[in-house]
């Protein structure tokens, strides 16, 4: 009982926070402080929920349910399995960091901090709801509703082309969502035909819809799949992400690629596989092709980017390919790896995004070519860039290595060809990360943004790099204590989960096994053991 209260509190606390913060218009500092306070309280609740969750227990835990629209069999039903729990934990960790990371962001004219942080907290509430919903219509409602705060966050607080990016983001997601709505109604009708009266309850739907004939399943699967593939995003439906990621403020970008996009991969696991097992097996090759194409294509485009935020967005496209590969390889190891990857990607890419934001905050430009040799001025920032970058390219010892390795080793027995191609992506990852690092941080001081800080174009002709560095040192400070405090927990998580991922895997694995059972797949890896 107390567990279900805990989950409801997780849902409604940020909502309350959003309301409170929205009224703190007069003083930005108070608004920020209140938002941070709410997000830390939420984190405490997450810890409590993690403690209350029993990995060996039921499929769905901490659940509660109330009738919402009896006529359509809709309930306000929430509950978590291991997969949802780790995602909610990721949200809980990232939101305070995002709030801390955005602390000194200069807001556009006539926008208040209250508006910004209120929308962040609103989004947190809706995202927790998306992962916690056990009623398919509730999930859909929140899935769509989360677009609205995100739209305003990008459109009101973003970069120069924010209008375009916000509208593109919204329309892509809405189109996917509307296609999914057809399928959501479809599963309701299918359950109605089988049971006499339709329902949106997830567990009932898994039991009924999964017995429908394959062609029905395929149509319904496609509706869900397109929405999730836009969200995740898989190639070729990814084009909104680089725009949205580049124009969003840094903190919002972290939430966008760190959490919001995971709704797509989570949706594959939670909805596509258990509800439509036949269709999933039938269409898995198609998904795998898209996934592997994303790994290679995203990595190649990331190599070619000059805009640092677009660069991070494209690395994410590559990572999402890996996650989709893990999900659709249908082995326990690969799926557990994929879920762990979802968490690790949130941490590693979130950190990379924040570090890039800190570079941009100093130089005022998003272009890689405007920088060079920053490590001379800001050694600690450069060090953080290395950590985030290495975590992103999955160096052993960082968190991403464990998940990427699990995905590859788990996928190899069933999908050797795709796995081998995806492994090439790891090499490309090393290339794009290290090359960006080299261009921005290493070498002599160069680039318009850096030299511009030294005092105009005349300084470019200064042959003495010693003198240049001396003049710049006061203008380009290294990390402040706030920035260190924002990055430190992420560094700790990168290293901790790189060495000892077991606590998270313990929570994930039973839910992944349950998903595979619902899918009706016997795990070849475990059989072999």
């Amino acid at each position: 009982m107390s567990g279900s209260v805990l989950l409801l509190a997780l849902l409604f606390l940020p909502l309350l926070g959003a309301l409170v913060v929205a009224f703190l218009r007069s003083d930005d500092r108070v608004a920020k402080g209140a938002a941070l306070g709410f997000s830390i309280a939420e984190l405490a609740l997450v810890v409590a929920a993690w403690a209350a969750y029993d990995p060996a227990g039921d499929r769905i835990q901490l659940g509660s349910s109330a009738e919402w629209i009896p006529r359509f069999g809709v309930h306000f039903a929430v509950g978590v399995d291991g997969i949802a729990l780790v995602m909610i934990a990721l949200i809980g960790i990232l939101v305070p960091i995002v709030i801390g990371g955005s602390w000194n962001d200069r807001l556009p004219e006539e926008r208040t901090a209250a508006g910004f942080y209120s929308l962040i907290l609103l989004m947190q509430a809706l995202m927790v709801g998306v992962f916690a919903a056990t009623d398919v219509l509730l999930f859909y409602v929140l899935f769509e509703a989360v677009l609205v705060p995100m739209y305003f966050l990008i459109g009101r607080f973003g970069g120069a082309r924010r209008q375009y990016a916000a509208v593109k983001f919204f329309l892509y997601s809405l189109l996917g969502g509307l296609i999914m709505l057809a399928s959501v109604i479809g599963v309701y009708v299918v359950s109605g035909n089988q049971l006499g009266s339709g329902t949106f309850d997830w567990e009932t739907l898994v039991a009924t819809v999964s017995t429908a004939d394959t062609s029905t399943q395929i149509w319904l699967f496609l509706g869900f799949f397109i929405a999730f593939a836009i969200k995740a995003p898989l190639v070729p439906l990814h084009t909104w992400l680089p725009d949205a990621g580049a124009e969003a403020p840094i903190g919002v970008g972290v939430l966008l690629v760190g959490v919001l996009d995971k709704i797509g991969t989570y949706g594959f696991l939670r909805y596509c596989l258990p509800m439509f097992p036949d269709a999933s097996r039938e269409l898995a090759p198609l998904v795998l092709v898209l996934a592997v194409a994303g790994v290679i294509y995203g990595a190649l485009l990331a190599v070619g980017q000059d805009d640092m935020k677009r660069f991070v967005s494209y690395t994410s496209v590559a990572h999402f390919g890996f996650i989709a590969l893990g999900v659709f390889a249908f082995t326990s190891q690969a799926q557990a790896g994929a879920v762990l990857y979802m968490v690790n990607h949130g941490i590693a890419t979130g950190m990379l995004f924040l570090v890039v934001g800190m570079v941009i905050a100093r130089g005022g430009s998003r272009n890689i070519s405007d920088y060079g040799g920053l490590a001379k001025l800001t050694p600690v920032l450069a060090g953080m860039f290395v950590v985030a970058g290495l975590a992103s390219l999955a160096l052993p010892g960082t968190n991403s290595f464990v998940s990427e390795f699990l995905v590859l080793i788990g996928a190899f027995p069933t999908q050797p060809v795709f796995t081998v191609i995806a492994a090439v992506g790891m090499v490309l990852a090393a290339l794009y990360v290290l090359w960006v690092y080299q261009r921005v941080m290493q070498g002599p001081l160069r680039g318009n943004a850096v030299l511009g800080l030294a005092g105009g174009p005349g300084a470019a002709g200064d042959p003495s790099s010693e003198g240049l560095a001396a003049r710049l040192a006061s203008k380009v400070p290294d990390l402040s204590r706030r920035e260190l405090a924002v990055l430190a927990p992420l560094v700790a998580l990168v290293l901790f989960l790189g060495v000892y991922p077991q606590p998270v895997l313990d929570v994930i694995t039973p839910s992944v096994d349950a998903t595979l059972t619902e899918l009706g797949v016997t795990d070849p890896v475990q059989e072999g053991n």
Binding site: R71, F72, Y140, V141, A145, V148, A166, A182
Partner: protein, 528 residues
């Protein structure tokens, strides 16, 4: 109404007998018509300076009283759902207060209450309505100061409301036709009453009248052919005739087609929508709100009734045609809406798209389709009403500023108005947690359950297209810099505030807690 009773009696060639009238069941309609007549007397006998307050009070009280009468009847001990005006010896009432009619009456009364509030408001720039004295020739731009207030709009609105209530409850095509005229004629006049921009207003009235007269003629011609086919104008008799006879089917198809064209015209469903943008744009905005919300309800009420009661048996023959009509309407509304630069025209195209969505539910021919469509009407009506209420507030020196570019940066100057309008636009786009989403869910689930999945996919694609132009307005309001001498937002009067609040609250309520309204909408079906 009573004329029609007699007329159909003659046609049925039976002895004239007194119809049995369940007064309590039809009391809301009676209240509205009596008050409309009173309102005419007020107009004729009261001195001009006192008319306005009396008319406002009278019409608002009428709607409240009719609503109370409806509530009393629904909660009374009588057997609800079968009453009306019944001709002795016939099972089905001629004019039926069955559950769908009662639900839609309630919807109409609530919507017209809001619309009357908008019409009555004169705190903003003296109100939207022209004085009865014509201005100087060529006086389109000339401001004309009327010596008093113009008040004919109130009796006209009440007559239109009464006509709508009869229209959707008539079980007999002749009654339906008379009601159609009773509701249309006042609307034609109301469209021409704008105080500013008189030429465009009068042009819209003439267009609406000419096209409306055509559509009435279509309706009447269809009625005649159907009488030739079935030997009766009663819906149940037509249904009985279609259920397997060797009558000439040409008459049935031609009659059905013409009849439905008349109905589709009233509901502004494409491709019979051509009048809608012009009329919505030209009519005074409160009247547009009244038309957009209430006429839709009445027209769809009649469409549902005619399709269900008279033509259900032959549905496999006409369904394909109406599929095509629904698709055309949704696509015309969504695609042409993209190109609009005038706010009222944009909402007009949006209403054409919504009419397409409604038609998807109306041709589902199931209980869920009926209740879903009625719920959608309720939800859509309130959202549109509030949206037009907001449009009346955004003004510049020449009256309402309806050009889209004039709305740029509105959120900076009036955050509350912009936020409210953004919410209403999201509701029109069908974003969850608004009534628009619940309406779409109800209608589309009924349609998929009835095997119309491809149509629903088209509808959802059209929704996605339409979302773009709603979104464009939000972008304008929130993300653009305001124009130099842009419009100002007037401080709304109490009436307008009340109407907008009503619309917004219902939009939110039906989006978050729709259960009660869905239950009301699905209490029962048509009596046949």
């Amino acid at each position: 109404m009573f004329q029609a009773t007699l007329g159909s009696q003659d046609l049925a060639q039976s002895a004239v007998n007194i119809p049995e009238i369940d007064w309590q069941a039809i009391s809301p309609v009676v209240v509205v018509f009596v008050a409309a007549c009173l309102s005419v007397l007020v107009e004729a006998f009261l001195p001009r300076e006192r008319r306005w307050s009396v008319q406002v009070t009278l019409s608002l009280l009428t709607v409240v009283a009719a609503g109370l009468a409806l509530g009393l009847y629904v909660n009374s001990d009588a057997v609800v759902g079968t009453g009306g005006i019944t001709v002795a010896g016939q099972a089905v009432p001629l004019f039926s207060a069955d559950y769908p009619a009662l639900f839609l009456w309630g919807t109409l009364l609530a919507l017209s209450f809001g619309a009357l509030l908008l019409i009555a408001d004169r705190s903003v720039d003296g109100g939207a309505f022209a004085s009865p004295v014509p201005p100087a020739p060529g006086g389109d731009a000339v401001q004309y100061q009327a010596p008093g207030r113009q008040t004919e709009v109130f009796p006209l609105a009440l007559f239109a409301l009464g006509g709508m209530m009869v229209f959707l409850a008539a079980n007999d095509l002749l009654t339906m036709f008379v009601a159609l005229e009773v509701l249309s004629l006042p609307l034609y006049l109301m469209c021409g009453l704008a105080r500013r921009r008189r030429l465009i207003s009068q042009e819209s009235a003439v267009k609406y009248f000419l096209l409306g007269a055509f559509s009435s003629a279509f309706f009447l011609y269809g009625l005649a052919l159907l009488y030739g086919y079935a030997g009766s104008v009663r819906l149940v008799d037509i249904a009985a005739a279609t259920a397997g006879t060797d009558r000439p089917e040409t008459l049935l198809y031609a009659g059905f087609g013409l009849l439905v064209v008349g109905l589709l015209f009233k509901a502004s469903i494409g491709p019979f929508h051509a009048w809608t943008p012009d009329v919505y744009q030209g009519a005074p905005t409160p009247v547009t709100a009244f038309m957009a919300a209430c006429t839709k309800v009445a027209a769809f009420g009649a469409i549902l009734r005619v399709l269900t009661l008279a033509f259900e048996a032959s549905s496999w023959e006409w369904r394909g045609v109406l599929w095509a009509v629904a698709i055309v309407s949704m696509l015309i509304g969504a695609v042409l809406g993209l190109t609009q630069t005038d706010m009222k025209r944009m909402i007009a195209y949006s209403s054409i798209a919504h009419a397409g969505f409604l038609l998807v539910g109306a041709i589902a021919m199931t209980e869920d389709g009926l209740s879903g469509t009625m719920f959608y009407l309720l939800a859509y009506g309130f959202t549109t009403l509030a949206a037009f209420g907001i449009i009346t507030l955004v003004r510049d020196g020449n009256g309402e500023a309806t050009h889209l570019s004039q709305w740029a940066g509105l959120a900076k100057r009036s955050p509350l108005v912009a936020a409210t309008f953004a919410f209403l636009l999201l509701a029109l786009a069908g974003i969850p947690l608004t009534s628009g989403f619940m309406g779409k869910l109800a209608v589309f689930s009924a349609a998929i359950a009835d095997g119309m999945a491809p149509l629903v996919v088209v509808a959802l694609l059209a929704s996605a297209i339409a979302a773009f132009f709603y979104l464009r307005v939000i972008v304008l309001m929130y993300f653009s810099e305001p124009a130099q001498d842009g419009p100002t937002v007037s401080v709304p009067g109490a009436f307008t505030t009340a109407a907008i609040t009503l619309g917004v609250v219902v939009t939110l309520l039906l989006g978050v807690l729709p259960a009660f309204a869905l239950d009301w909408a699905s209490v029962g079906g048509f009596v046949s």
